[in-house]
């Protein structure tokens, strides 16, 4: 069973439907710690503000169960679900994230149109992920982005893809069976579904 963690933010139904279209048989949208514990795989989606997301996760008492299980089973983070993995964000003063990885979350320069909204290319930076996370996905493929903040990991070895928007920023990270991306595979048509299929097949 794949558990999509529901903390009241973002379009979870789309993620569930896309995973099903990518071949997942049993997908549950849930905020139950019990189901998260029992799930074979975890998905942390979400759009919006990190502060609000942390508040909701805390309210639902999901912070600990996520932290404890994040490396125990295949994990997929999408958009805000990527940003939440980091230790802090400059969004609205200083906001603390889950702190799975050291590093910050930063807003795009005021000189750019923010949010970055639309289709942009990814540059695959890591050979291993080319045959794992990005199997059957060519370098420079387009994915759909919709965000104002990007992550800056301290540990550069987790960076597996980058994208250009005013500057080069990190658009996907991976470590063991954890994969998280800034773009939205569930909204990225054919190639998005292929990426989800790679996750479903782990």
């Amino acid at each position: 069973m794949i558990a999509i963690i529901d903390y009241g933010m973002g379009n979870l139904r789309s993620v569930a439907k896309a995973l099903e279209a990518a071949g997942a048989k049993n997908v549950k949208v849930t905020s139950s710690a019990g189901l998260i514990l029992r799930a074979d795989k975890l998905v942390l989606p979400g759009v919006g503000a990190m502060q609000e997301a942390m508040r909701e996760l805390r309210k639902l008492r999901l912070l600990e169960v996520i932290k404890k299980n994040i490396f125990r089973k295949p994990f997929l983070g999408i958009c805000l679900g990527l940003q939440l993995l980091f230790s802090e964000s400059q969004e609205g003063g200083k906001v603390r994230g889950l702190g799975i990885f050291k590093g910050g979350v930063k807003r795009f320069s005021r000189k750019l149109k923010v949010p970055q909204m639309g289709w942009n290319q990814i540059r695959i930076k890591n050979q291993e992920s080319r045959i794992k996370n990005f199997k059957n996905i060519p370098d420079n493929s387009y994915f759909y982005f919709c965000h104002s903040y990007y992550v800056i990991p301290e540990d550069k070895s987790i960076i597996i893809a980058t994208t250009d928007y005013g500057r080069e920023f990190v658009s996907a990270i991976a470590k063991d069976n954890l994969f998280a991306c800034q773009f939205h595979p569930e909204k990225s048509q054919r190639l998005g579904l292929r990426l989800l299929e790679n996750f479903v097949k782990i």
């Binding site: 933010m9 139904r13 909204m117 048509q189």
Partner: protein, 270 residues
């Protein structure tokens, strides 16, 4: 590189796609889910549904249309039309919309933009602006007082609400800036003068808005041929171009258009 977006718009009435000219004369153009699927195959970059259902009791139909579309089509979907409050926004997002566009309700209560973007994030709040050129500019010049006379080449546009029927007295550029400040993540700009005419987008209006704000702007109204898209995405600085009837009646396919724009050197996904 971030690409420019080509966005087919589906005007949906009582669960069916319809298309009118200058906000009038509606024609039936098919089932929204089937039409959306065709656009996905053509690699349209996003879809916009505009619900123009008049009666309140039929408004729930759009939620079902959005739900069915989101189950079958895996691309960004913006839904607008008749959105009045936070609960309308929540229902649409829960049904599967990625962005919700607000028009009349935002003009009547600008703070709705702030409440909505605080709650759901700027990225999913689109403010739709229907603008029309103010013809008697001198009269306005007098009203704007001494010191700041409006010259003939400083055109001004007024915001209209209720499907383009009701003038508001609001200046379109000022309103666009205010919407951005309140947290709008994008502006969907329709020229009432050009809508349905097929003689090209309103380049002056679009240019004026794209140089007034720092959020993405979708140009809408007037697309008639491939060149129109090229001009609005380059000279007028639009981030995306929207069209309805042109794509519906297959006078132009999204695929053909994108191939053309790419060949002319625009950053396009295809």
């Amino acid at each position: 590189m971030l690409t420019k977006r080509i966005i087919p718009c589906l005007d949906v009435k009582d669960g069916r796609v319809v298309k009118g000219v200058k906000f009038l004369e509606l024609k039936d153009a098919g089932d929204p889910v089937r039409v959306s699927k065709r656009y996905e195959e053509e690699e349209a970059d996003e879809l916009v549904f505009l619900d123009i259902t008049a009666s309140a009791e039929n408004r729930k139909i759009i939620l079902d249309v959005v739900r069915r579309t989101a189950e079958n089509v895996f691309m960004p979907l913006t839904v607008g039309g008749g959105v009045r409050d936070l609960s309308d926004i929540r229902s649409l997002l829960n049904a599967g919309a990625d962005k919700v566009s607000i028009n009349t309700a935002a003009v009547k209560d600008p703070n709705l933009i702030k409440r909505a973007s605080d709650k759901y994030g700027s990225q999913c709040i689109v403010v739709a602006i229907d603008a029309k050129l103010i013809r008697n500019q001198p009269a306005l010049a007098k009203r704007s007082g001494p010191g700041k006379p409006v010259t003939s080449n400083q055109k001004r546009w007024e915001v209209f609400i209720n499907g383009g029927r009701t003038p508001t007295g609001l200046d379109a550029l000022k309103w666009a800036r205010q919407a951005e400040k309140l947290g709008a993540g994008e502006i969907l700009l329709t020229s009432i003068d050009y809508d349905g005419t097929k003689c090209g987008y309103d380049l002056e209006l679009t240019k004026a808005v794209t140089s007034s704000v720092n959020i993405p702007v979708i140009a809408s109204g007037g697309a008639g041929k491939k060149e129109d898209f090229y001009t609005v995405l380059t000279a007028a600085g639009a981030d995306a171009a929207l069209a309805a009837s042109l794509f519906h009646y297959r006078e132009l396919t999204v695929k053909e258009l994108k191939g053309y724009l790419k060949k002319r050197g625009i950053a396009i996904r295809c």
